[in-house]
């Protein structure tokens, strides 16, 4: 697969802790590192007052991941530090020039409205690199075969999103299903206008088409689909009914106020996703 001279991840960072889902999240990072030929940093930041048992668990997880990475011929480095996780990770990212950080969201994170004040959100906001927040819900689908990629009508960092998706798909040999949920077309006196899938396809947003064009260039097998409906609900229904194994979507750009009034699809999806979910916050500028 070609890299098209666009975005390239050379240094991938996976934050691991004592929780199982962080290890599963790191496995995604591991596979991405293999596909990108990147160096993998597996890191555990021990917070003050952490119990010995938790420390050992995290250490075990790092060991397992390290061995796995070596088995997969990935250049790997493990880091164990103490301190405040966001601050320490920020330091490492700056120092090492990390391209993308993988971190897992926890159940208690998503129970908070707009997951405000969580480590996941802080990482997503504070780090100077791209961030992939992983929500692990299903441990049976180890290598996703079908990846659902919901795309908004207007997106930024199209190249990086396409690169990330393509590399994930490449690493697992998956098929990508690009999905755009749009508002139904309505007219005042006629109400909702029914369009067939073929008619919807003609209304594919420009950015979605560009994204698919990149996937084509990366030689990734994909399908595109436009459907009317509420974003989060449509995505979960699509993922559940078609048995998708993984969802990759962009991070929400809605403000707190807008989220309160209009709702937040990412937040809803984090709660209801029927399969693992990666929320990507891209930072690499399109060239």
């Amino acid at each position: 697969m070609r890299d098209l001279g666009l975005t390239v991840y050379t240094k991938i960072f996976a934050a691991v802790n004592e929780h199982l889902n962080s290890e599963i999240s790191a496995r995604y990072a591991l596979n991405l590192a293999r596909a990108c030929g990147a160096k993998l940093y597996i890191c555990f930041i021990a917070e003050k007052g952490m119990s010995r048992l938790s420390f050992e668990r995290a250490e075990d997880a790092i060991k397992r991941l390290f061995i796995k990475a070596e088995e997969m011929d990935i250049q790997v480095e493990s880091i164990i530090e103490t301190g405040e996780p966001v601050k320490e990770i920020h330091k490492i990212v700056r120092h090492e020039g990390i391209d993308i950080v993988f971190a897992s969201t926890r159940r208690e994170d998503i129970e908070r409205r707009f997951y405000a004040g969580t480590i996941a959100r802080s990482l997503s906001l504070a780090l100077p690199c791209s961030v992939a927040l992983v929500r692990v819900v299903h441990m049976g689908r180890i290598h996703p075969r079908n990846i659902l990629v919901p795309i908004k009508a207007k997106i930024d960092h199209i190249k990086e999103r396409a690169y990330f998706t393509a590399k994930m798909a490449e690493s697992f040999g998956s098929k990508v299903f690009v999905f755009h949920a749009t508002k139904p077309i309505t007219k005042f006196f006629h109400g909702e206008i029914h369009l067939t899938p073929v008619e919807w396809e003609k209304r594919l947003p420009k950015d979605t088409s560009i994204f698919m064009e990149y996937l084509r260039k990366y030689q990734i097998e994909f399908e595109g689909r436009v459907l009317p409906g509420t974003t989060a609900r449509s995505i979960t229904i699509e993922a559940a009914s078609k048995r998708h194994d993984l969802i990759i979507m962009g991070a929400s750009e809605r403000s707190l106020l807008s989220s309160i009034f209009k709702g937040n699809p990412v937040e809803e999806l984090l709660r209801e996703t029927p399969c693992d979910l990666i929320v990507l916050k891209p930072r690499h500028e399109d060239k």
Binding site: L20, M139, G140, S241
Partner: protein, 883 residues
């Protein structure tokens, strides 16, 4: 790579667990991470919000504004009666909101039923010790123990199996137990034989497994998730009502503004114009429409219940009428589910059907789990049919069963080992293609021969010919088991068998079905059969019941899985489509594609995994007899007799309901004109207002209601199932209907109203231009006469609106007795309004003489005659326009 493709060792590694199970501490940690192992309700709009939504839609907002303006008007200009109007409009908003909410509200209980399928307690191994915990506390990585009778609590990768068999019916719809193994399997998780799924039951054996998915992330949770989230969207009627309210709101607002401006230019005061504008709006809005529609649907559902279709959602009554495709199961719906042996076929001439071993009928009797209970045969229908046929032919056979290898959907056969008269035999029955492969010999005319290519070909063609007769075909075989032979595994037993012959079983079609299918054809409704049977059997049955005539497209389950959505779309666009060897889980995909293509879909179902398709379809139809509680809860309609013909009857009723709604909309809208015209005369001719707002409401929410409901009870006309399903583009409130109501019937009523008004004024000595006080008796009597004229002409109108083209005399004056009850109510209410002091007070009326009533009757006759004449002309023109 998925959990099912890993070895047992890799499973532990992947789930970061051990054979000794998780530690309690780790289990607690994982519980915190993954949540409880339970079926959760998907977050929905709270009920209170849904109710409040009824007060904020377009029409409601318009009425709120009118009510607020009325209150404002009362505050600034007291004594004009605007306070009463404000309250009346507010009441209308509340009435409409409550009726609409009742119509749309539906308690969601499907998930409640699903929760019952999960166990309460479960045995796990934690820290190397076996313990019983709450099933909801199971987490990924837990090692659980399964034994006979257990319900599986979470999706589990088996790591140990002692002939464990599970019943996957909640997931696959197949009631036959399937064997579970521990070896890696490379296919999809759902098809994997090393997985025990949540919601299924262990039928026999025992095993151990590692949990990899809990709660809503299990396959069972996936069905629950879809059942809780997919919706069929607004019903066609709900969409039409929204459109109607918008059209009416636009007409009312435009008229209000125009006449407000006109009043201003001819020099009326602001308040006179304002009162006038509000009056125009109130007169235009058919306040009684929603309650009448709801009650009419309720009556329709009552009629359907009498025809064995139980309606759960009121709007489904009308949605049924718009159905363009029915996706139906075969067994039990199109057929009687009364399996009987129709034909037994042997390879030879059938002169001698027994060799040295057991005969075909002996195998049919002994390789069979049917039980005789108090003289009745109990068991799976196919087995009962075989048992009965064998029993009737050869009677009971002395035998002892030594072992059984139950049927499973992979082998598609079952085997037993029986001892008969000291000899031991392995006996097998199953799908012919799966029996032929394990036979090395066959029985022909009492002689055991090598089962060579020629004999195999003969057997296959015999098999095909039987399927072409619509029979479900089973093959039978046996072999003698030598003493000391290893019979532990089915592979040891099911080999080198002697093929005995074939049995064709028939599940006869329901007698009403061919006629029902003919009706569907005439009504332009496409029927898609979805069956688990083989293609040939499905096709033969389809031909027998008239479902297919030409070249039909038959899609086998395996092809279905390979097809892309676009390919499937192509197939579904064809005239005659049959899906064979399908499982219920595939229905949702079929329904989705049909809906995306704009079809209005009804789908039948009975299993738990039918629930998402039942919810997604415009009309989900559950089987009352065979159906699970989950399917019944997810459906819109329950067939009390599981009969396909009942669906067609219900569609007929649904179409009639739609026609009837159009009839009473004509009726209700006709009275808008005599309500508007008095306002026009009031402002343009500068006369006292001939009809007060309260009198308008008396018509809209009082006298019109019962006759309109009676129109909603008109029986379906024979023509209703001779026309194609109405196009989604067809409007409930279309131009011809509006023209008839507003430009033909309404004006006659308006003339009658004004005639009554002026007649009374004139007789009382009123002079043109003279303004009368609102409590002046002459004025009160005049407005009463105007109101009475509307009521009298509406009595004639209710007869006129019974049909659009057909003469009432042809329909039969007395064929709808409810019309007379409605008219009686209308007259009684009007008598109360006119002659009771309380009625006079509320509606500002005053008693009038009988003479006034009498002089208004000719207008009713005029309306009736004019409408009969119009219908005659329409019929003639329509007839001529036909080819």
């Amino acid at each position: 790579m998925k959990i099912n493709s890993l070895t047992v060792k890799e499973v532990f590694h992947s789930l970061v667990t051990l054979e000794e199970g998780l530690t309690e501490d780790e289990a607690k940690r994982r519980l915190k991470e993954f949540g409880y192992n339970e079926i959760e309700e998907v977050k929905k709009k709270p009920l209170t919000f849904r109710f409040l939504g009824q007060f904020t839609h377009f029409l409601a907002v318009l009425l709120w504004i009118a009510a607020l303006l009325s209150f404002l008007s009362e505050y600034l200009h007291p004594g004009e009666g605007m306070l009463t109007l404000g309250f009346a409009i507010t009441a209308v908003v509340f009435i409409n909101a409550i009726f609409t909410f009742i119509q749309e509200y539906r308690a969601e209980k499907a998930l409640e039923e699903m929760k019952r399928l999960l166990p309460f307690y479960v045995k796990v191994i934690r820290e190397g010790k076996e313990r019983e915990i709450y099933a909801k506390e199971v987490v990924p990585g837990d090692v659980i123990l399964l034994s006979e009778g257990d319900k599986v609590s979470a999706d589990t990768r088996l790591i140990e199996s002692n002939d464990i068999r599970v019943n996957n019916a909640p997931l696959t719809g197949e009631s036959e137990p399937v064997t579970r193994v521990i070896e890696p399997f490379t296919g999809e998780i759902i098809n994997s034989p090393n997985i025990a799924f949540a919601g299924t039951t262990v039928v026999s054996g025992s095993g151990k497994g590692v949990v990899f998915a809990t709660g809503m992330r299990t396959e069972f949770g996936r069905i629950a998730h879809l059942t809780g989230t997919v919706t069929s969207g607004l019903s066609p009627l709900q969409k039409e009502i929204i459109k109607i309210t918008r059209v009416i709101a636009a007409i009312a607002t435009i008229m209000g503004v125009i006449f407000f401006a006109t009043g201003h230019f001819i020099g009326r005061t602001f308040w006179e114009n304002f009162l006038f504008a509000v009056g125009i709006i109130v007169a235009n809005v058919p306040e009684g429409l929603l309650p009448t529609v709801t009650l009419s649907l309720a009556m329709g559902s009552q009629r359907m219940a009498k025809r064995m279709a139980l309606i759960k959602t009121l709007t489904s009554v009308e949605t049924l009428g718009s159905v363009s495709v029915i996706c139906t199961d075969k067994t039990g719906t199109l057929t009687q589910n009364k399996m009987a042996v129709k034909r037994i076929a042997y390879i030879g001439e059938g002169i001698k059907t027994e060799g040295q071993g057991p005969s075909l009928l002996t195998v049919a009797l002994l390789c069979n789990n049917t039980k005789e209970v108090e003289g009745n045969l109990k068991g799976e229908p196919t087995e009962v049919a075989l048992y009965r046929a064998a029993l009737e032919s050869i009677g009971h056979v002395e035998s002892r069963r030594i072992k059984e290898f139950p049927f499973d959907s992979d082998r598609k056969r079952m085997s037993t080992i029986n001892s008969i008269n000291g000899s031991i035999y392995a006996m097998t029955k199953g799908a012919p293609e799966n029996i032929f492969t394990i036979c090395s010999h066959c029985l022909r005319d009492g002689e055991i021969l090598y089962f060579d290519e020629a004999l195999r070909d003969k057997s296959v063609s015999l098999y095909y010919s039987m399927m072409d007769e619509g029979l479900r075909v089973l093959a039978f075989a046996y072999r003698e088991v030598k003493s000391g032979e290893d019979i532990k595994s089915k592979e040891d037993v099911e080999r080198d068998m002697v093929f005995l012959g074939l049995v064709g079983l028939e599940d006869p079609p329901r007698p009403e079905v061919p006629e029902a299918i003919k009706k569907c054809r005439e009504a332009g409704i496409k029927i898609i059969m979805i069956t688990g049977d083989g293609s040939r059997t499905a096709l033969a049955i389809a031909r027998e019941i008239g479902l297919v005539k030409g070249n039909s497209s038959i899609v086998e389950g395996s092809d279905f899985l390979r097809m892309s959505d676009d390919e499937l779309r192509m197939v579904l666009s064809k005239e005659e489509v049959i899906f064979s060897r399908m499982t219920p889980k595939h229905k949702l995909r079929v329904v989705n594609i049909l809906k995306e293509e704009g079809e209005r879909v009804a789908v039948t179902g009975d299993g738990v995994n039918d629930a998402p398709a039942l919810k997604r379809a415009d009309i989900g139809i559950a089987m009352g007899i065979m159906g699970t509680d989950v399917a019944k809860e997810a459906a819109d309609i329950i067939l009390l007799d599981d009969n396909f013909a009942t669906i067609v009857n219900a569609i007929e009723e649904g179409r009639a309901v739609y026609e009837n709604i159009r009839k009473f909309i004509s009726y209700i809208f006709s009275s808008n004109i005599p309500e508007i015209v008095p306002y026009l005369t009031y402002v343009l001719l500068r006369i006292p207002l001939p009809l007060t707002i309260m009198q308008i409401l008396a018509v809209d929410l009082g006298t019109d209601m019962f006759p309109a409901l009676a129109l909603g009870a008109e029986k379906p006309s024979p023509a209703v199932m001779k026309i194609p399903p109405r196009s989604p583009k067809e409007r409930l409130l279309n131009f011809p209907l509006l023209t008839r109501a507003y430009l033909f019937l309404g004006p006659i009523e308006a003339v009658a109203g004004l005639f009554g008004y002026f007649y009374v004024l004139n007789k009382g000595g009123w002079q043109w231009g003279e303004m009368l006080a609102s409590n002046n008796i002459l004025y009160l009597q005049a407005t009463t006469a105007c109101l009475t004229a509307i009521i009298v002409t509406q009595i004639a109108n209710v007869f006129a609106c019974r049909s659009f083209k057909e003469s009432v005399f042809r329909l039969g004056i007395f064929t709808n007795r409810l019309i007379f009850a409605g008219i009686a109510f209308e007259i009684l209410l009007q008598l109360f309004i006119v002659y009771h002091p309380f009625g006079n007070k509320i509606f500002s009326t005053h008693p009038i003489s009988v003479e006034i009533w009498l002089i208004l009757i000719p207008f009713a006759l005029l309306l009736f005659s004019a409408e009969e004449l119009r219908k005659l002309i329409v019929r003639r023109v329509w007839k001529k326009s036909l080819p």
